[in-house]
Chain length 345, copies 2
């Protein structure tokens, strides 16, 4: 079987995924009988490519690594918008990796709509569409017999959505709480070692933990988008990030971190969603945790989630100190689950 | 669709599962289009039942609750061994819940063999067959197009086997470490509060945490069987619990627990499996943990596992303070996954 990919958005995650594809090409062929070709790549600032034949990923990655942009001289070069590429491309799987728009989830929602209408399966790591249009898009996908997968939107490739859907059948999720924003956790961990907020933020940007716009992390918007995605998918909420009661980490002084540390406690940015009277209430805020809390030891870039269920009690999942590879794996694993389901295995 | 169950072993877990079946009967019919009937119940000390029609679970549970045994006067009453019941019964799913035999995994292995040969799917919470005969039984199941499921053998219904198989496609497991034995963890937690080993063990038996034979817990055999099951299924080992380097918790004095507590540390019984030179090495032993270790806060009946993978880095799963319901859910969720796969959804 053959998967033909259109990659809309090709930043760090897209490139890491492309490297993973190259290194797994043989393995995919032998183990899954799966051939994966990339037929289109749409970037924000480097131009776009589209082709009837597989694009040479080696060459593309090499160009991007040395800072080159795609040029007229390349046979695949096109001057087309993402929507025009989705419209014109012969792909059967669209990988949506554009950056988060926290106000509306656009234009990613439009990309996914169009790709579904053109008969493509969807894999995305973009939280916007799940936080703003999950119901509509999942319904549209189902009505066309297409897969819509988004494991990478929360905790990278750590199974959260797939965990509930594929391993907890018949369970209802009553509440979710999590440390969902790596940057905030990283900054709070660094500050507890004695450096200032600004120094910690600088370090987060330098090592590549922070989102493109770090205010999305620091003011709790990223965590709000993630808890909304979780509430929409796992708890049947129909909410947007704007309905999350939200406090970020700007207000936490080195002083209060020192005081907490002196009594063995830590501040963590905790996101919560809880069912109450048929509604799902969500909040994001710094909380003071004791060593007895599971989340206390979850430091740095690590993240964690606890699900309270009706039949399986409480279970937690922790992702330890991930790199960009774990987000690339999210795309890769969703792609494999699509291959399995289409193949019927 | 209809699942017709033969329940071989009907102790606490089997009875909790039967209660869950009763409470979910309507829901299963409406949501899954699934009808579940129990056609046979084989107990160790209360006699056995077998029938062409669904056995009245209400009545059976009521009898067992007031200490009655099955009698000649019941139309379903049979004087047959488990193997004779599997041979004679019209079930399409055998639920194996006999107690662990740590020396050989028998007679559970024989029960599963026979049931597979008779065309039944298998769900079990018995570690023995997975620790002693996983390769043979899974091969036999596959060759007959039957499902062989055993999520409940490790950490109750917490997804561990299903997590890897169903949500981490393409990942190789490089190592596993876990707090896998509730009784040991419970005893160590109680002892750290100042009571003696004997008092803590008594309490574990009283509240129903301990296995039928608590020496299996205390001497590390239960954890050894579980880490073997994990190594066999997830890491391709072909080992038995006898190959696990094993130290239990008998040797830990209240004195050493006090000393550990004074410096903020705790003893936990840690099971490990690790790949080295193409082999899987396994051990079970008490380890001294700091608060920075994720497992430090996993107290009482709770359990936890950390998987190191090639593509997804390290992830952990924690089960918080489970009851018998979580083991019943293991059987229930495996049954639902069988229903889904047979139905092709």
């Amino acid at each position: 079987m053959k998967l033909r990919l259109a990659m809309i958005g090709f930043g760090n995650v897209g490139q890491a995924f492309a490297r993973l594809l190259i290194s797994k090409r043989e393995w995919l062929r032998e183990t899954y009988g799966l051939e994966v070709e990339v037929l289109a790549i749409s970037t924000r600032t480097r131009g776009s490519l589209m082709s009837k034949k597989a694009i040479d990923l080696h060459r593309v990655l090499g160009m991007l690594e040395i800072g080159e942009i795609f040029r007229d001289s390349m046979p695949e070069y096109v001057k087309l918008s993402p929507l025009e590429i989705i419209e014109g491309c012969d792909a059967n799987l669209m990988v949506e990796l554009t950056t988060l728009n926290i106000d509306s989830g656009q234009p990613a929602i439009e990309h996914i709509r169009k790709a579904l209408r053109r008969g493509m399966h969807i894999v995305t790591a973009n939280k916007g569409p799940i936080a703003y249009a999950y119901d509509e898009l999942s319904l549209l996908a189902r009505s066309r017999g297409l897969q819509f997968r988004f494991e990478g939107t929360v905790m990278d490739g750590t199974p959260v959505f797939n965990l509930v859907k594929r391993t907890l059948p018949g369970c209802e999720i009553e509440s979710v709480q999590g440390l969902l924003n790596s940057t905030s956790n990283f900054i709070l961990t660094e500050m507890s070692r004695g450096i200032s907020f600004e120094e910690a933020l600088d370090k987060a940007i330098r090592v590549g933990v922070a989102e493109a716009d770090p205010s999305l992390d620091i003011d709790g918007w990223d965590a709000a988008a993630k808890i909304t995605a979780l509430a929409n998918v796992l708890m049947g909420a129909r909410s947007t990030p704007k309905e999350v009661e939200r406090t970020g980490i700007r207000g936490i002084s080195p002083e209060s971190l020192r005081k907490a540390a002196a009594s063995g406690m830590k501040y963590k940015l905790v996101a919560r969603a809880e069912k109450a009277n048929g509604e799902v209430k969500m909040c994001v805020r710094p909380e003071l945790l004791k060593p007895e809390d599971l989340f206390w030891s979850v430091d740095g870039r690590s993240s964690a989630i606890t699900l309270k269920t009706d039949l399986m009690g409480e279970i937690s999942v922790v992702e330890h100190d991930p790199s960009i590879m774990q987000t690339a794996y999210a795309i890769y694993s969703d792609m494999l689950l699509i291959a399995e389901s289409v193949h019927g295995s």
